[in-house]
Amino acid sequence: MNAAADSKATTMQDAKAPAAITLIEAITQALAYEMRNDPSVLVLGEDVGVNGGVFRATAGLSAQFGPERVLDTPLDETTIAGLTVGLASQGMKPVAEAQFDGFMYPMVDFIVSHAARMRYRTRGRLTCPMVLRVPWGGGIRAPEHHSEANEAIFTNVPGLRVVMPSSPQRAYGMLLAAIREPDPVIFFEPKRIYRQYKEVVADDGEALPLDVCYTLRDGTDVTLVTWGAQVKETLEAAEKLEKEGISAEVIDVATLRPLDFATIAESVSRTGRCVIVHEAPKTAGFGAEIAARLAEESMYDLVAPVERVTGYDTHIPLFRLEMKYLPSVDRVVAAAKRAMAAS
């Protein structure tokens, strides 16, 4: 399942002097690439213009492409969502920004009732090729409502694609794919790892698929499945486990909807054990869908009960306590060991 990433690596030499950049810089790079490439692409949101976005995702775009392609909106998320659907259904390719995850709730109506239904409702006469970028998740010591992991709200909605890259390369390639996708994409960006590390990302315009999971680490004893910022803790847990003689495979789901369950199932068919790790509250989080699919399709492969290591079923606390809320490396390690012990 790393084929896409690999082919990307091989095309890297085509671009001139690819630089090592952060995840957020990869976002900016992808936006700039596609705005150059396709004149129907435009960016809109609060403070995305001259200010370049509160996270700097759109830094420099206004200067490069002008205010007609980088639109500051009035301060209203309903407005952003509605205008975006309007633009997309008339042939433009808007990339909207929700300033933070906690502010996207007023967008739900337009996303669910219109974006996700435009093609379906009109039998393909009108469509809605839009991207909604959402800085997502906790752990940055931010104020209230700036730390939500609310992807589950969208994963039950037909007509949407819901993705979440967790590396600079995947951010670049998946954002290009999202913009080119003829249907609406909710593009979650794990803000905690916006600047976690740099990676060489060729600015070659190569998109990555939006329907595959990425196996980040091979293993034989237990499959750790995660997405977003938790990829960090999960990889660390895998290293710790290795020191204790447990070989953990790590899968970054990357695209939640549609889910590439085949990759997960194949891994679990080898390991027999699965630990699902996510930030969002446990109950009815997207981890439930993965566990459910295992219960349906991989039951005979499982040698231990499925484990979920998640946020608790409460709101992420303000920042003095938030790290106690988020799944830790130790919790992942403990769950993997329980799975090993169970069998």
Binding site: L42, E68, R69, T73, P74, D76, T78, T79, G82, L83, T84, V85, G86, L87, A88, S89, Q90, G91, M92, D109, F110, S113, H114, R119, Y120, R121, T122, R123, G124, R125, L126, T127, P158, G159, E181, P182, D183, D211, P258, L259, F261
Partner: protein, 356 residues
């Protein structure tokens, strides 16, 4: 007293309910012959409406929202738009839609539970019927923004009701129109009721037109049962839109002469006397009297046209009734441009359940 701002909102009416002119007619609409096709369209809509209601009553149609009483407003709006424009209806502006090429059979298919009704034969850019109240206004603002950004010549026109003017999406639309100086016309069709809730309960504002002031838009209130007033209001708004002067809110004063939909029983909440009174302002006799007085219409023409309408509607009804149900795969095939593997699997299951 220092003033921060002051405003005046104009009211337009040219034809009184009795069909006589009460003000000098706007130049653009002085030729009665030019009004004739619109009057005929109004009559056609009324015939269509009656037959659609009858279809519902006999179990051949789902819930249906009639347009009885709104004909002047709807047809006047439809007549004011061209192929460069984008129309965003709510769910009962058939008069406007017919003028934009939507087929009556498509209306019936939509209310008959078939998505293909939304695949209009008419203007391909127009928005489908919109059930979530007033969200069409904000999509229209987005459409207007796309025109402005691409320097296209058109305007976007959205309709909502008096109830719909309370919806936050309506406010978002007018706010955006003002912020971006958009070629957007928001038509508030005030028919007195939002299902059972009277206009008065929706807002403390004395007019719905004045809501446009919140966004710095051009505001007008017009007699929506007076076709000429409707046309003139739309002419002014569209001129502004096309000249880059920005958006308008027009309040059309009309009345819902039917139940809210066929699923509603207005006698539960509405005084029969009010309805009776409203019939005296019916837009159709008013225009008929005027056009007859102008010598361009008469009883024979009316009779002939009524027959033509009935025949035309019957053809449409038959086309609707004869349209076979979509196959089961239709619920999968229009969801994504590229169907995900999971869904292909479910589609195959659904086909298998049909023995296919």
């Amino acid at each position: 007293m220092a003033l921060a701002a002051s405003f005046e909102i104009e009211y337009l009416q040219y034809l009184a309910p009795d069909g006589t002119a009460v003000a000098e007619l706007p130049e653009a609409f002085r030729d009665p012959a030019a009004l004739l096709p619109l009057f005929k369209q109004m009559l056609f809509v009324r015939v269509f409406d009656g037959k659609a209601i009858a279809l519902q009553r006999t179990g051949k149609l789902g819930t249906y929202a009639a347009s009885l009483g709104h004909e002047a407003t709807h047809v006047g709006i439809g007549a004011s738009m061209g192929p460069d424009d984008v129309f965003a209806p709510s769910y009962r502006e058939y008069g406007a839609q017919f003028m934009r090429g939507v087929q009556p059979r498509e209306v019936l298919m939509y209310w008959g539970g078939d998505e293909r009704g939304n695949d209009f034969s008419g203007m391909k850019q127009d928005y489908p019927w919109c059930v979530p109240i007033s969200t069409q206004c904000l999509m229209a603002a987005g459409a207007a923004l796309s025109m402005k950004l691409r320097k296209q010549p058109g305007m976007a026109v959205a309709c909502c009701g008096d109830g719909g003017s309370s919806k936050t999406d309506f406010y978002a639309a007018l706010n955006s129109a003002g912020a971006y100086t958009l070629p957007l016309v928001l038509c508030v069709i005030n028919n007195g009721w939002a299902i059972s809730v009277p206009r008065k309960a929706q807002t403390g504002a004395e007019t719905l037109a004045q809501k446009g002031l919140a966004g710095g838009l051009h505001c007008l209130q017009v007699d929506g049962n007076d076709l000429i007033a409707v046309l003139e209001a739309m002419r002014r708004a569209s001129e502004r839109a096309r000249n880059g002067e920005g958006g308008s809110v027009i309040e059309f004063m009309t009345y819902r002469l039917h139940d809210h939909t066929t699923a509603d029983d207005a006698r539960r909440y509405r005084d029969e006397a009010e309805v009776k009174d409203a019939w005296t302002r019916d837009p159709i006799p008013r225009l008929r009297t005027y056009l007859t007085a102008q010598g361009v219409w008469n009883e024979d023409m009316e009779k002939a046209w009524a027959d033509e309408c009935a025949a035309k509607v019957d053809v449409e009804i038959n086309a609707y009734l004869e349209t076979p149900v979509q196959p089961v795969e239709a619920m999968f095939d229009y969801l994504y441009a590229d169907m995900p593997a999971d869904l292909q699997h479910q589609r195959a299951q659904a086909l298998a359940r049909e023995g296919r």
